[in-house]
């Protein structure tokens, strides 16, 4: 069982986590689309803090003996998932950026040609 003072600290942490995300959303520093995963993560953390027995049960299903070990394994797995999705977002943006750059260069040539024609 988690000591009650640690539980209070964790609850405060989870709440401040949500406040930070909402603040970023309000400032448009985060895209809601990409924030969903973080909100889900916060929700899971919140549930686990309120009902820690749930964590113990899930971990036992996977055959992990130690609570903390189980928590770390799930956390690391989740972080890898988020990193993977970030790499995928970066790659997709890279591709879009490439198309934009190429189109820009082609338009730039067209503008130069039109300016030439104008001078004549």
């Amino acid at each position: 069982m988690i000591p009650s003072n640690l539980r209070v600290v964790l609850i405060v942490l989870v709440i401040s986590y949500f406040i930070v995300i909402l603040y970023f959303l309000k400032e448009k520093a985060l895209n809601l689309k990409y924030t969903l995963l973080w909100l889900v993560a916060g929700l899971v953390m919140g549930i686990l803090v309120v009902v820690p027995e749930l964590l113990t049960k899930i971990i036992r299903i996977f055959g992990i003996q130690d609570n903390m070990n189980g928590l770390f394994i799930f956390s690391i797995g989740f972080i890898i998932l988020i990193l993977l999705s970030l790499t995928s977002i970066a790659s997709r943006q890279n591709r879009k950026l490439r198309t934009l750059t190429q189109e820009l260069a082609i338009l730039d040539k067209r503008v130069r040609e039109l300016e030439q024609d104008e001078k004549r």
């Binding site: 820009l104 082609i106 040539k109």
Partner: protein
Amino acid sequence: MMEDRKKKILVIIPAYNEAENIVHVVSHMMETAPQYDYLVVNDGSTDNTLELCKREKFHYLDLPINMGIGGAVQAGYIYAYKNDYDIAVQMDGDGQHDIAYLDQLLQPLFKKEADVVIGSRFLEKEGFQSSASRRMGINILSLLIRLTTGKRIMDVTSGYRAVNRMFIDIYSKDYPTDYPEPEAIVEAIMHLGVVKEVPVQMRAREGGISSITFKKSIYYMIKVTLAILVCRLSYGVRRGKRTQE
């Protein structure tokens, strides 16, 4: 059928920091092969490649940021596609590729014997043959392409190529990045294109430095090997269809 001489042909010349070579390469081409259009693609050079293109009034695209050879060549293909070219040729801006071989490169396309033609150093083993270690790397990639696609291509890294309208279309929509040459061959084969090699001689670089230094060669081999396998696998599931005949 269209007359060969009426076909619109564009020579794409990607140039990244090629100030030492670009003027010579383009003016040599304009003297000896004035019947072809050309397009220099300045890939965000940090030297005065762009200024030279402006001063000499070359036809050029100016990419505002550096995108690597793949992005630069693809910009040329998009340009060729939008301006209704029948054939696009890619030729390095560093003076390694001799415009004199352009006709040999174009012949298989005129005769409709091929969709993609590659200028190969190794068919007749004449001219600059690159270093032994480079050749070994090229042979490994060549073998890999042969194992995965069944097609035997000797000079898989040659950037001296000519493609028909079908592949101008395909490459303008999807062209590999980061050392794209071997992967582009696999892509062509997977689109059921006929890839053919013709012998050419290449020169050692006239100036500047090659984009592939010794340190990068390990990364090069790993990246290209993976790219070939991924390309082969992803098209293996749904093999590309010929878009036109």
